[in-house]
Amino acid sequence: MAALLARAACCLDEDVEPTRIAKWPALRQLTGRDRLGRGAAVRSPHTEAASPRTASAERVVASICPYCAVGCGQKVYVSAVNGKDTVTQIEGDPDSPVSRGRLCPKGAASKQLVTTPARQAKVLYRRPFGRAWEPLSLDAAMDMIADRVVAARAQTWQDERDGTAVRRTTGIASLGGATLDNEENYLMKKLWTALGAIQIENQARI
């Protein structure tokens, strides 16, 4: 087969530069050493000129995979794209004694978790009985939420229950995911407890 192809190459139009034919990947794969086409045979000027995104990153930041609780090490590669900081790649961290550089399909896809167009970057508001989302500024949303917490707490406050002091509200509830940072959970628990809100829950019970 290889001999046949070599003869075919000789019979080709003489206008075609012989070196170009010799560079034809399939021919190199069949006549060269890289019969499986996993190395030299499939390299082209384009591949020679290419370099990994990670090589040109402006900075590399150490992180931890946000999916399961194994806690694999991640390296986050950031570059300015159109003048804006952008995550260009997330890879496993070979230094991690947990993961030794490996990531599963979710961890390996986590760059998309950050860059996906499905991410919502603006506050959305749905008024009671409304049929559609409406825009709202973050600042207004924060004030409206703070007002509602204060009002709901005042309306549902219990000083006592069955003659015993309870000093709480059951009018407000909270349910958190378990990708929250410890620092975030800490501030939440601290604030909720000071507010007297007790129905404070997390995926950890689910």
């Binding site: 609780a69 230094d95 949303a141 309870v166 000093r167 407000i172 800490y186 501030l187 689910i206």
Partner: protein, 818 residues
């Protein structure tokens, strides 16, 4: 493990290469089974029978690690004469009240006498023997569908791989906890591991494979109703004073320092306002009066008792059991705040929930005001995750979040600031805690992001001079120290963020103590004193880990010893000693009040001191072991025949078991995976796994559609006919079919599908109020489900056949569920 924690599974593969035998017990044959030495398929819900039979195998064959058991467990404790075992009264222990479905544990408390020969008929060792005596290979076959040959092989492997020279590890996915008997599953594994001497030793232990980046952290610093940071309980109404509250925790062992932990927490939260005179403001903390868990709260929402609800990266409309009730609850709120990366089903229930299609809800009639606030991703903020090994790892901020997206730290902090500003002038007593709160963290950038390291420093704790503490040993009960979570104290030891340490694994020991920081005190293995014998010498050279250095008079080893450093093995506590001093030099389980591993648990459990097999809340078979069919203490809402009694009597209506699970390419309710094109392309569609036999029985075609119907909902899924699931032969030749259902889909995202969790009941473990989501019953029929109101008619036709009320009256009856 290979499916859902593939990167951790590399260590199992490596252990196998080094000669370990890997056994995989799972109803499904998965990629874990493919790499294991043996796969043992079993019926979900039968685990206590399997584990109990292993306990019996160990005890009846004399395979226990006798020295370890005698010295390190409560096997020698003698129980009172009025203690009655489940064996004595057909599945119930003494002290049971059938009206309240609770136990009075006064007859379970050991007398204080001990018999180190372990022969006294009322000693824990003998009670344990009798309790599990009927759990044998034949029972395992009858209940779990595991052949006697498979069981005997498994038991043989276990005892050969345990003892002085060898250790066995049990690894479970947290599905083990998602049963009405979840806590007792782990308990049975703990009994087995203590009997075999596999706790506190390298290669031993019971490992939970948790499924979320910081689910361990979410319990350590809990956003859970019943806990304060560091596993201090939330105060109850009866805890009127700080002193009274503290009596609920042990006086001996490391809980003996409880006052230092609690007072330091209150000082961290309320600063100068917390004084000895005002009991550090403890009396003002909110009080619990029972169950305020997430499922109870959802029912309260349906009743109209909850005005506002916050969801932080959580999607109950898809991810919680009984998702239909979750969505009906969202529709009853005054207002809802959803914080997430993308718009999820819990934010859009008013637009496109399945109940809109069935006509149960109408958009223009839903009064819930909804705020969607975009969240920052893990690379857009600094902070720590606590992984499943209790290790805190700092993730650094790489760039700013887009647009209005903010960290949850930012949201909690700035919401708190705005609320505090609104009560700044208030002199109402109820605002006193809010006004006293220490709430002033450094801010940076245009967004005024609070400094996460400052928060971690508060968690770590500081002394009277403001200097950061080096560990919880420095905490004081007199109000002179502040610490936000005592078990995390030391994460900033030496003023250095220990959680951010990243010394390459190639440059440190195999224990890798210089990568991140593990609580407590950077110990990588808990209770590691048990890796040495009572005299302090390693049980074996191969399994050397922590030992007593006689010359230096201290404990030393590969890890930080989980023991007072200079407490000699021959230390005997004086009478009346409290705190750690009350434990002997041979008591390794230092968080226990007696320092010993608990084979028998007399306090703290609501469903019995020893694990006992009960059928799941829904099961196609009746209990083969006891007259008591289901857990006598499980928590069920509503008290409806569909959930409060198993459906064995209706086996013809819902004849099959279904179990839910995750896929490698998706994450929980899909909010972090169905929005990614790569993951969506890899697993685009909901499917149900059925055996060829079940497919033949129900006329299901591979690649075709099936409708799965439970007492609560009907959903449709593509059919995957596979020999990975096989029918199991139980008692008297009965055959049980199990259906596998991954549960990642909903109506939002790039790939959509029906919500599997709609099928599940609200049936909870009584100890931790976690739902039974790994086993329930269903029917399966070929073809797609009906659309519109016809879907409810289908569910109701099954309910009618089973003698249950129609679905709408069932929903209404949730209001009686308290």
């Amino acid at each position: 493990m290979a499916e859902c924690h593939p990167v951790a599974f590399q260590w199992v593969v490596e252990a196998k290469r080094r000669g370990a035998t890997i056994v995989h017990v799972d109803p499904r044959f998965t990629r874990t089974s493919a790499l294991a030495n043996i796969h043992v398929p079993s019926r979900v819900g039968g685990d206590i029978v399997l584990l109990g039979a292993l306990v019996n195998y160990v005890l009846s064959g004399g395979h226990e690690f006798r020295e370890y058991v005698t010295a390190y467990t409560n096997a020698a404790d003698i129980l009172p004469a009025d203690y009655q075992d489940a064996e004595d009264s057909d599945g119930l222990f003494s002290g049971y009240d059938p009206v309240t479905r609770t136990y009075d544990n006064s007859s379970w408390k050991p007398t204080g006498e001990r018999d180190l020969t372990l022969t006294h008929p009322r000693c824990v060792f003998q009670v344990l023997k009798r309790h599990f005596a009927r759990y044998d290979a034949e029972l395992v076959q009858r209940v779990c569908g595991i052949s006697e040959a498979d069981f005997t092989r498994l038991a043989g492997i276990l005892v050969r791989a345990s003892g002085r020279e060898h250790t066995t590890a049990w690894v479970y996915a947290v599905g083990w906890t998602q049963h009405t008997t979840g806590v007792q599953h782990i308990r049975t594994a703990a009994i087995l591991q203590l009997l075999l001497g596999n706790m506190g030793r390298p290669g031993g232990g019971i490992m939970a494979l948790r499924g979320h980046a910081s689910i361990q952290g979410c319990t350590d610093i809990p956003t859970l109703f019943d806990l304060l940071p560091g596993y201090l309980p939330m105060p109850r109404a009866e805890d009127e004073t700080l002193d009274g509250y503290l009596t609920r925790l042990p006086d001996t062992g490391f809980w003996g320092n409880k006052r230092a932990y609690l007072v330091s927490l209150l000082k961290a939260w309320f600063g100068a306002a917390a004084t000895a005179e005002n009991e550090y403001l403890f009396p003002l903390l909110p009080r619990l009066t029972g169950d305020h868990g997430t499922y109870r709260t959802v029912l309260n929402m349906i009743e109209g008792g909850v005005k506002g609800y916050f969801l932080w990266g959580q999607n109950p409309a898809v991810g919680s059991a009984g998702s239909r009730l979750q969505r009906l609850a969202l529709a009853k709120l005054d207002w809802l705040v959803v914080r997430d990366l993308a718009v999820i089903e819990s934010a859009t229930f008013w637009q496109d929930s399945p109940e809109i299609a069935t006509g149960e809800l109408a958009t223009e009639q839903i009064g819930t005001e909804v705020f969607f606030l975009p969240a920052a991703s893990h690379v857009e903020k600094g902070g720590t995750f606590t992984n499943t090994q209790r290790m805190l790892q700092w993730h650094h901020k790489a760039l700013d979040p887009p647009g209005d997206a903010r960290s949850d730290l930012w949201f909690a902090y700035h919401l708190g600031k705005r609320i505090r500003a609104r009560v700044a002038e208030s002199d109402a007593e109820r605002d006193r805690l809010l006004r006293s709160l220490t709430w002033d963290y450094p801010e940076s950038g245009d967004e005024a992001e609070p400094d996460a390291e400052a928060v971690l420093q508060e968690i770590n704790g500081s002394g009277p001079d403001g200097k950061l503490l080096n560990g919880f040993g420095e905490l004081k009960p007199d109000g002179s120290t502040r610490c936000g979570c005592w078990i995390y104290s030391g994460c900033y030891a030496g003023g250095v963020n220990q959680t951010a340490r990243r010394k390459p694994q190639s440059e440190q020991s195999w224990v890798a103590p210089e990568w991140g920081w593990a609580w407590p005190a950077n110990r990588r293995m808990l209770y590691n004193r048990a890796s040495a014998d009572p005299q302090g010498k390693p049980w074996s050279e191969r399994k050397r880990y922590v030992w007593w250095n006689e010359q230096n008079g201290e404990w030393t080893g590969h890890d930080v010893p989980d023991f007072e450093k200079t407490k000699s093995p021959d230390y005997i506590p004086p009478d009346g000693a409290v705190g750690p001093a009350a434990l002997a030099g041979t008591d390794p389980f230092i968080m226990q009040r007696d320092g010993r591993g608990a084979l028998f648990v007399w306090t703290g459990l609501k469903d019995g001191p020893l694990p006992t097999h009960y059928e799941s809340a829904e099961s196609p078979v009746v209990n083969d072991v006891y007259k008591q069919d289901t857990s006598p203490a499980s928590v069920l809402y509503p008290r409806d025949a569909a959930t409060s009694e198993q459906l064995a009597g209706h086996a013809a209506t819902y004849p099959y078991i279904f179990t839910t699970y995750r896929l490698t390419e998706h994450h929980t309710a899909g909010g972090m995976s169905r929005t990614l094109s790569r993951l969506s392309e890899l697993q685009p569609e909901l499917f149900c796994e059925v055996s060829p036999q079940l497919a033949a029985e129900r006329g299901l075609e591979n690649g075709g559609w099936a409708t799965i119907i439970s007492a609560r909902a009907a959903i449709e899924a593509r059919v995957l006919v596979t020999r990975r699931l096989r029918p199991l032969r139980l008692a008297d030749g009965a055959v049980v079919h199990q259906v596998g259902l991954p549960y990642h889909w909903g109506s939002e995202g790039l790939v959509t599908g029906d919500v599997v969790n709609d099928l599940l009941p609200f049936a909870l473990d009584p100890n931790v109020l976690i739902q039974e989501s790994k086993v329930a019953t269903c029917d399966v029929r070929a073809g797609r489900r009906p659309r519109g109101p016809a879907l409810i008619e289908l569910v109701d036709s099954y309910r009618h056949q089973a003698g249950l009320e129609p679905l709408d009256s069932w929903t209404a009856s949730t209001q009686e569920g308290s």
